[in-house]
Symmetry: D2
Subunit: 395 residues, 4 copies
């Protein structure tokens, strides 16, 4: 099978299976045919191309690692990573949408939900007919979710099956406003974190969109407001207990970001290479100048290492040997190099680099969110620091 | 006189005269009262607050270093620098507008124009009643203006006073679309660069706005299209000869940017300090964490050095001892540190850093233009390299 | 088989074969038992532990990838890389000695030599009974060997088998003074580069040691002076033609450095981790401070990526698919990160970091040579730049 | 008066008084005539050129800011800074020797001593006839001197004038072994830090030299061992109370380092410029390549900003307005840029950069000490961080 035409300086694609490459190809096609033609307009107007959701569903892009019995593609983690990479080569907004749906909504239902919950929600979410969102972060608790103020109170404290009253505010919720179901995390009266499936239209639940973003503009970002929302017991995720449950979701999402950010970096690098070969100054292509070559060589080196890192993480994840600090390294490094690559690509494009005729400025704005969400760079630094030294230094 | 309340870690304001501080204060007031309240809206909607032009004129902000006999403020270069700093603390778009009007339109009329041209144009431009733009850069000649394709042909080659026919295309022209007069540079038949005052409405002259910018969104950026435009001889700048003339203008503009970019950096730094003192995570202000303190300390150090650099450049300019490579160092360094500061400030603001509720993301986008225009970072690097080694390495 | 106790954050050792790990283990033992106990003294006194040469030979460390029929170990390239890594974990001087012997002396004899030359020299060099050196670089031709001034003239231009007269000066020659045989490159009268085996004691050949090094102090670095040296035709490498031949040797050496520099980085990182866990300041281990954790996390991330890079290069080399620019990326990146890691480790060790009680300062000095030789960082940058853009920018 | 021929890109020397330039010139001459001819040998052999001490004394270089009534030069702080700069342009060892003698021995005697102590010691130390050292740092208390274990016990607790018994160990003491007098800091029984003049030969006091340094090799670094040393009351500094006293000394020393490190950076930069203009590769001086010009331009920019920073600190110090965090910025920044400059200069010198034929490798090793002592980079970062945020983050 011929390789895809993309940045692959060390023949890494030869380490992939045919199936993995096939997934990459499908996602590449989707990005080129569905995302790229419309993304500039959506970014300019700050709107989300909601119509792509069922299309992604039809291709198996949503919850792609979950089993086929729930309507999912059952991919391995490397194929899933390549999928995230190719979507984010298009735009971080679309990759984020798929990440949230799969890693933060479908995954917790799959991992912590009852069989009924799985059967009800997973096929709907997998198909893209329903959209989900993930409510963990609060206005004053970004890096420290354990401090959350949202509360879940038993409606009738004497009945084990009486339902719950939820109160709280969540922020920075991708797809919140358009979601049919929100996985909301709140502390019960014992101070233990529980997860709830809060459905659109439940009384007291609203999800206003946040405005004025200059990053992920083609994504919907929302607040979730819960005021005395009644949620039946059957909407509680029965196997989620304590902070470990949402952190498990974050591991899924972070893993996907380690790959997705590579796609962003590759898109920027490829735009810069193309530009540097065709843009003439002082009678030669700017790619022929030493200062430009240094930039390109460094970009390629960082991307290549990021690819090797993501692939090894995928192999470890498929072998069920991966640890959260290993994922932190991937998320931290690949976001950081993607951020750097986007800035350098912007430089190479000169004045053209500020126009949305080229994808670079859009990616450069997007990476700021990606660099920050699902654990900031600094938080992942400290996760690694703790792993190395045995000493926690967060506080 | 009490100091202004701003970033001044090394008491640099004590090196300023009362008059210089007074100019700074006026510009600060203008920024706070006129720019900051409206700039978020203009940036969101990508519109230029044209109504601020006559207000800047009334305050003497336009062409501020030129003599009072032409309606200008006659400031020294340090006061002018502080003015640029304070405007850009508001937004690079407004500083750019003032820079172009003063350094790239009024300055060449003053330096290379006839007495009639000065008397006609300088008071109008100083008052902000008329707006000017500067047409040097061409689509394929950014860093290498000497290669320009625009041509000025004598209308009647036998008469010395017969007027000219201009043809060519200019790009990346700040205020082009709204300008009443454009200083356009073109090569005559002998291959010498000449400057012309091309007026709005001249036949064959148009200035379409460029769309899709994600930087300097509150600024108008345009193409200038000249198709057989007839320009009378009295609209030619008689004392401008060769590339030296537009390069002299660029020196004015670059000097202003060395100060302006500091204002941008200070705005970002101050927002980050404020945020770091009030944003609580893990039960303390994030400013209390070592990783945040490192960021803040580095930002402050770079800003402080940039201030000293700008001030020394100003003193050298006032003493008429300044050289173009010295200005290059100022432009290059202060844009680079402002760019870095804006990124780090964005990090410190966490997720809030992507919202236009805070000024940082706007400045972060703006600096990309400022870093690039009037000589990219790399071009200034090579100007310095040539000064150090005596060897030109542009080609 | 249990893993070795070393920096392996992503379980990369699980990607190694048993044989590869066994080679690593042997080399690790050698380093710990033979190199580390004596290296501080040799570094302090600037002497070379020549007695280790036959010991390395006995263990198969010299020319280790060449076939067993010539007395060599016949290792694959990954095992060879691990060997270089473990030796340089000890000291760059010993890795350099092994690199030169294997990659720059035995390899060209093997690749470009006659069967007689191979049979004569390879077993002697493999055993460490004889020492070789590689004479390519000249005082004025470091990065540009094609410009070499050394000349080989036919003794009798009418006889094809009459022997040669060599003249020239080589510099920066590892092991030059103690070598029994030097592979010397010189241009013939047609301007083509040829390789010659110049033996110790040949008339007109001398190899004075260079003094005053503060890097690779436990290594001998020499000049080679050739004044009318007569070399018989049978000492010419018959299959070496043009610059391609010595560049082929450099590819071998650069590949080994990509691994060796990792060993240096790992030694520094491990010293820093150990120190950070035991050094108490302000009543806690300095490894518990955020600023230290950031340093450690970055070091580990860079080392891990360097390991993945080296391993993939090894797999490509074993598959005979590797290209020179791919090797350049490995040499360039891994030396750069080792250099950075050594500096940061030095910081973490505080004042103790300047003492040779700890290995870090020694490695920090050594990496300066390793960063520079076999192609400087900048040369490899431009090799990559040419690969990316198709345009050579060396000149 | 003609300017000195040195790196002064922004005509900063025009901001100096004639007297200041005269001091700079004297120090420059001393460095060129006395230090540079012998420093390579001393560095190679790890010996201290003790004979330069009285020569420095004769020129007024020791305790140069103290009043003439005590035999000192009475210089202002800018002249003193220039002196430190020029000495360190020679070698950090000599600047360190002068710094310690003036800032850490003579200054505390002057600031905290009795009139008798001043009259006895200052003229002897100013002349270089006696050598002093400063004993604050302990093996386990580098960054946190408040934790010191050294103890001073009243010999007879009922008499106010009975003398003291000192016990403790100090480390990293410049000039310890050769000092005639040591300013030793120890806690009294109330836990308050006191300063004592411990004289050579006092029973129980020894100062063994530390070996194996690869930094400041031309300097003596020692331990101080105090075992039941009896020190009379008249050897106690009467006005030194608490940690404030030794910290006051550190401010003196740090200020001098802010200037001295600039001298080191200038020496490296100038060597690199010279080399880049004369070293030919690919048929042109390497200074003509873009990659080299980038390095040179960045070095010059950082040095220039460091000069402005040091000068402004000097002016603030002369005006008695300087604060410890301002000094921290100078020490931190100028050491960091000197370190970076030394590495880049080493790169530019290629292989020659590892030889002591050129000064760069020596400076590169020296700066590691200078970067670390008198407050590491990280400690100064946190001092600034505390100043900015109001929150101490050391612990």
């Amino acid at each position: 099978m011929p390789q895809l035409n993309c940045t692959d300086f060390l023949n890494i694609s030869e380490l992939l299976s045919e199936e993995e490459i096939e997934v990459q190809r499908m996602a590449r096609d989707f990005t080129e045919k569905e995302i790229l033609p419309i993304i500039t307009k959506h970014t300019r107007e700050s709107t989300f191309p909601k119509e792509l959701f069922p299309k992604m569903g039809a291709l198996g892009f949503l919850g792609a690692t979950l089993p086929q019995e729930y309507g999912c593609a059952g991919l391995n983690n490397v194929a899933y990573g390549l999928l995230m990479q190719e979507l984010e080569r298009g735009d971080s907004s679309m990759r984020s949408a798929a990440s949230v749906q799969g890693g933060l909504v479908m995954y917790p239902i799959y991992a912590y939900g009852s069989e009924e919950q799985k059967k009800k929600w997973l096929p709907l979410l997998a198909s893209g007919k329903k959209i989900g969102c993930f409510g963990l972060t609060e206005p004053d608790f970004g890096s420290n979710p354990a401090g959350m103020l949202s509360r879940a109170k038993k409606k009738n404290s004497h009945s084990t099956n009486s339902g719950w009253i939820l109160n709280g505010t969540k922020m920075w919720i991708t797809n919140g406003t358009i979601a049919d179901v929100a996985v909301v995390w709140a502390k019960n009266e014992a101070g233990k974190i529980n997860g709830f499936l809060v459905e659109k239209g439940m009384k007291g639940f609203s999800a206003p969109e946040m405005k004025g973003k200059f990053s992920l503009r083609a994504s919907v970002t929302s607040e979730l407001v819960l005021e005395e929302v009644e949620v039946p017991e059957e909407n509680r995720l029965p196997k989620a207990e304590g902070l470990k449950a949402p952190l498990g979701c974050l591991s899924q999402a972070r893993y996907g970001i380690a790959w997705g950010s590579l796609g962003l970096a590759m898109a920027c690098y490829e735009a810069a290479v193309e530009y540097s070969k065709t843009r003439i100054q002082f009678d030669k292509p700017i790619g022929g100048f030493q200062l430009t070559q240094k930039k390109l060589a460094e970009m390629l080196t960082e991307i290549t290492k990021g690819q090797l890192l993501a692939l090894q993480l995928g192999r470890l994840k498929d072998a069920k040997k991966i640890t959260p600090p290993q994922i932190s390294m991937g998320k931290m490094n690949n976001c950081a190099i993607a951020r750097k690559v986007s800035h350098v690509a912007r430089e190479i494009l000169g004045a053209n680099g500020i126009l949305d005729d080229y994808p670079v400025i859009r990616h450069m704005m997007n990476i700021e969110s990606v660099y920050t969400y699902e654990g900031t760079h600094d938080i992942h630094t400290l996760i690694l620091g703790e792993e190395i030294t045995g000493i926690a230094a967060y506080k």
